[in-house]
Amino acid sequence: MPATRHLLVVDDDTELCQLLSEYLLPEGYDVESVHSGTEGVERALSGEHALVVLDVMLPDVRGFEVLRQLRARTRMPVLMLTARGNEQDRILGLEMGADDYLPKPFNPRELCARIEAILRRSGIERGAMDIRVPGELIVDDVSINKGSRIVRRRGETIELTTVEFDLLEALLRNAGSAIARDELVRTVLNRPFSPFDRSIDTHVSNLRRKLGPGPDGLDRIKSLRGVGYQYTLRQSSGALEK
């Protein structure tokens, strides 16, 4: 059993918070709950928590505002709870750098799995800083540094969220060939693929927007209907690793 990890739950539903801390305790999570956005930002920035579970609907400020304030200062993992069926919330949350989202009401097992997946990913990330030799991956005019997690296009730095970085890395590594959607969900989002879940597509379209068109003016990431996505090669014959 791994050491107890501290989670911060920001949700105005106090009863739900109680139930959650009761449910998550045996799973190895110690839950602290706060019920307002301002408190949430304050506590999250204390650096005591491994992950924040953030509800979109808060009494004082919207969850997105909390997320924006957090992202301005920290890269700590954030899982958003959104109203089901509200596509806009989902897209906005992921765009603003949430690591994942879960529509409310959720299955607590699913919540556990998502938290696990995010922590595993960010754990690898943190470990990589120390262990892995900071390598570079270069495709055409885009280069990513796996150590510092910096992305450059023609020398200019591009701000990407954690998930977008991982997605770009996966796409660049396979540049020129297609990766199936379900594979991307498994490797990048660290969770089993479920149809009708469009979060990977949202991440791809955000990434596409941030990267801008390729040197020839066309989309860098091509959608292959019924298959998945492909990073299109222009000049180089493949990813160059340093």
């Binding site: 739900l16 139930l19 089901r84 069926g85 009401p105 299955n107 607590p108 209907r225 019924g226």
Partner: protein
């Protein structure tokens, strides 16, 4: 024609007609005096000369020569020459008109003057004495100038030389130009606020609810300003209502889902401590919770579509690509039962609307088909373009290989919560899926219909108008009675 141009042209025309009339009248009175003076200066001395010549000819060469001379003289159009002797008798016995006689009399009565001019009738009478000392009166009767037959250029020229000059052309251009500028400004003054009202109305229709008419219009102090104020009042009201509706939907969603969220976690806790035999009941509770959740989601979607709230993300997208994506996902889901989904027909069909809503609507139909199709069969989706009365459209046919539906209830499947289909499969649906699909397509200006297919199975046809460049299709107002029904359903819940 645009109101601005219309008002401008009418005013311009009006101003030109009025100023033309004014100039004409002025010419008739004022310029005539000047004209008369010029005429007198020109012909006064000449008549003096002619009178001397005529008396000289009469004395030296006789009346025949004079008649010849006068005849050649009268070749000028309208100019008449008379000659009276001392007794007041016309030398050639011609009948002189009254004004001529009057002038002659006036000259006779004025002693000392050798010339008498009647500028109105254009008559000049001149005393002349021949070498023998015989006195005569020579009268020249000129034609009267006609103002109405003179060209406009002449009317405008003060020097009245009889021909258009540069100055007169400049003057004409100035009148037309000044009138034009004035009328343009006036037309703009009237039409500009109407344009603004119109664009504001359009913006409100596009859900830019914060749109208001600005001070420029409101400070005019005329009826258009009142209209602007009324518009702002209306916009305030619409904004309040829509905001309230949006807030209500969010609140209802939150209020209904919070207990479900707690229920789910409590269920998770209960599973941990469950004794043998309870598990399947807990599964049942979980299933029903999930159904309740789906139902709430669909009711809210229905309310959103009907009220038009949440249609903000209106854009242009490729429906063919969307169908393909939905098909891929559906196939993934149906693989376990050995079913497949095929998509055929048109590619790249751009439509305008809310991609999220249309995706949900298509998904409802495709998943429905997957549910009802027999194991190991294929659901066929085909896209075709069709020229409808209102313009080009795309039709999506979704056909399953299932048992079909009794003909008499086919149409009722689109009625919310219709409970006619007593098959076991019905338990999986909420009774709202097809109703939502139809509403979504109607809001997009399309239709959703269903029928039993030839050769077995059930086919749902979804039609959407294709996007036309420059066309401005907006969400269609939900004015159907169904709005009421669902509105009540939500508030009752």
């Amino acid at each position: 024609m645009r109101l601005h141009i219309k008002v401008f042209l009418w005013f311009w025309l009006g101003v030109l007609v009025v100023s033309g009339t004014l100039i004409g009248l002025t010419e008739l009175t004022h310029s005539r005096a000047q004209d008369d003076r010029l005429w007198q200066e020109k012909y006064g001395p000449r008549v003096d000369l002619w009178a001397r010549q005529e008396t000289h000819i009469l004395r030296t060469k006789g009346s025949v020569a004079l008649e010849e001379y006068v005849g050649s003289f009268q070749a000028d159009p309208g100019v008449l020459n008379y000659m009276f002797d001392a007794t007041g008798h016309e030398v050639f016995d011609r009948e002189a008109p009254k004004p001529v006689l009057a002038t002659v009399n006036a000259l006779a009565q004025s002693s000392g003057w050798t010339q008498r001019v009647d500028p109105v009738e254009r008559i000049i009478a001149e005393r002349a004495i021949d070498a023998n000392g015989t006195p005569y009166v020579v009268v020249v009767d000129f034609p009267e100038p006609s103002v109405l037959t003179r060209p406009v250029f002449e009317l405008l020229s003060a020097d009245f030389s009889g021909r258009p000059t540069r100055a007169s052309a400049v003057r004409l251009a100035a009148v037309v130009g000044v009138a034009g500028i004035f009328c343009f400004v006036l037309a703009r003054h009237i039409a500009a606020p109407i344009d603004r009202l119109r664009s504001a109305t359009k913006k409100i229709a596009r859900e830019q609810l914060e749109t208001r008419i600005d001070r420029d219009v409101l400070n005019r102090g005329d009826e258009l300003a009142d209209l602007g104020r009324d518009f702002n009042g209306m916009a305030d009201r619409i904004e309040t209502l829509v905001t309230a509706q949006r807030q209500l939907l969010a609140d209802v969603s939150h209020a209904l889902r919070s207990p479900l969220a707690r229920l789910n976690v409590a269920l998770g806790l209960a599973r941990r401590h469950s004794v043998p035999g309870v598990g399947e009941h807990l599964d049942r509770i979980e299933l029903e919770t999930e159904r309740l959740n789906t139902l709430i989601g669909q009711l809210l979607t229905m309310a959103r579509v009907d009220s038009g709230v949440g249609l903000e993300r209106w854009g242009v997208f490729d429906i063919a690509a969307l169908v393909e994506e939905v098909a891929t996902d559906a196939e993934y889901e149906a693989r376990a039962r050995g079913c497949t989904v095929s998509v055929a027909g048109e590619r790249n069909c751009l439509v305008s609307g809310s991609a999220d809503l249309v995706r949900g609507a298509v998904e409802n139909v495709v998943r429905n088909a997957m549910r009802h199709t027999a194991d190991g069969t294929c659901v066929d989706i085909s896209l075709e373009r069709r020229a409808a009365a209102s313009g080009p459209a795309v039709v999506i046919n979704v056909r399953d290989r299932g048992p079909g539906v009794p003909d008499k209830i086919v149409q009722r499947l689109f009625v919310p919560f219709y409970r006619g289909l007593q098959t076991d499969n019905n338990q999986n649906g909420t009774g709202l899926g097809l109703a939502i699909t139809r509403r979504v397509f109607e809001v997009h200006g399309g239709t959703a219909t269903a029928a039993n297919a030839d050769g077995g199975g059930f086919v749902v046809a979804l039609e959407l108008p294709l996007y036309v460049e420059g066309g401005t299709r907006q969400p269609q107002a939900a004015t159907r009675p169904t709005t009421e029904e669902h509105g009540n359903a939500i508030t009752a819940a």
